[in-house]
Symmetry: C2
Subunit: 203 residues, 2 copies
Amino acid sequence: MIHLNEEDIAQMENRYRGNLFNTISGFKSGNLIGTTDESGNSNLAIFNSVVHIGANPPYLGFILRPTTVDRHTYENIKSTGFYTLNHVHEDFIAKAHQTSAKYDRNISEFDACGFQKQILDDFHAPYVKESTIKLGLRFEEELPITVNSTILVVGKIHHAYLDQKLIAEDGSVDLSGAGTVAISGLYEYFKPIKLKKFAYAKP
Amino acid sequence: MIHLNEEDIAQMENRYRGNLFNTISGFKSGNLIGTTDESGNSNLAIFNSVVHIGANPPYLGFILRPTTVDRHTYENIKSTGFYTLNHVHEDFIAKAHQTSAKYDRNISEFDACGFQKQILDDFHAPYVKESTIKLGLRFEEELPITVNSTILVVGKIHHAYLDQKLIAEDGSVDLSGAGTVAISGLYEYFKPIKLKKFAYAKP
C-alpha cells in the first residue's frame, strides 16, 4: 500500500491527478441530462455526479463544472427551469459517452450522437427515447461551492417514467433489470451484478 | 412504461416513496466515514452520497441528512475538522451495512460491527484497516440545501492509501481490482463488471 500525501498530489502530472481523483471516490451513476434553450435547440450531456438529496418530495442534485461543456446544460436549465435525467443503458454506452464531446451550441447531441428526442406530457425538456428510466425535473436552487467554483444544482422530480415491472413491492427500482450502468471516473462503464439486499439495520 | 406525476408521488406510502427515489437516481458509491469526537470516541458510518467536486486540488462532497445517524459523523467532523473515507469491499458488505444502525454515541461502530481501527501518519481520524482504498480528508465547507435542510459537506483529500498496482498508467484507479462495491438505494449492494473504457470524446 502506498501513501500519497498533499505534496505528492500537488506534484502529479495534471491528467494523471485528474484520472486518479475522478476514480478514487468510487462508482457513480450515469445519466444523460436533456435540455432545450430558449430558441428550441436541444442539448444532451452525460453526467456522473447525480446525487440523492431527498425523497419526500423527491430532490436530486448534480455537480456542475463551469469550465466544461456542462455549460450549455446549465444555461438551458437556468433560462427554462426544466431538464430531464435519463439513465444510461448498457446497450448505448458508446453513444452516451460521445455526448461528452464539445459540440457547438447549434449542434444537438441528440442528432450528433444518435439519440431520439421524446416529448412526454408537454414537458419543456426532451427525454431520451432509448432510456428505460426517465425523470422530468424542475430547477429549485443552486449552491456555489466556494473552494473551486463548482455548483451544486438541485431540482425536484415532477415526472418519472419506467416499466412497472422494474418497481419492487417495497418501491425500490431494479437498476440491473433496467440495464442501468455505473461509471468510474470519466471514461469507464460498468455493469453492476447484484450481491445482496439487506434489511433496515438495527443495533 | 408507467408515468408517475407529482400527485402520484405525493400520494405514495412513505417507505415506498423513500425506496423508489433512493434507487431511481442510479448506482452510488459505498464509503465508510470514520471520525472521532473530542473525547476520542470513534464513529463509523456508511454513506452512499459521496460525489466528486474537483481533482486539483482534490475535493469530495457528501450529503448529510440531519435527522439520521449521520449526525454523529457531522458533529465529529465539525468539532475536529478531519474524517476518513474508506471504500466498502465486497467481502464486508454485511458489516458495512450494519454501521447504518442507530448506535448510541458511546458505542463505536468499529467495535460493534467488527472493523479494525487504523491510525496512519498521525492523522486525527481513524481509517478502516480492512478497506483497500482509504482517504484522509480535512473539512473545507458546508452548504445548506434550502429545499429540505440537508447539507453538502465538502472536504479536501490530504492523504490517499491504496495498492500501487491498482493505479493504471493514466492515473485511473481499478475499482474492480480493489473489490469496491456499488450501492443502489439504502439496502442493495452490487459488484460492477467492466464493460468498456473509452477515450476522451471529440466531436
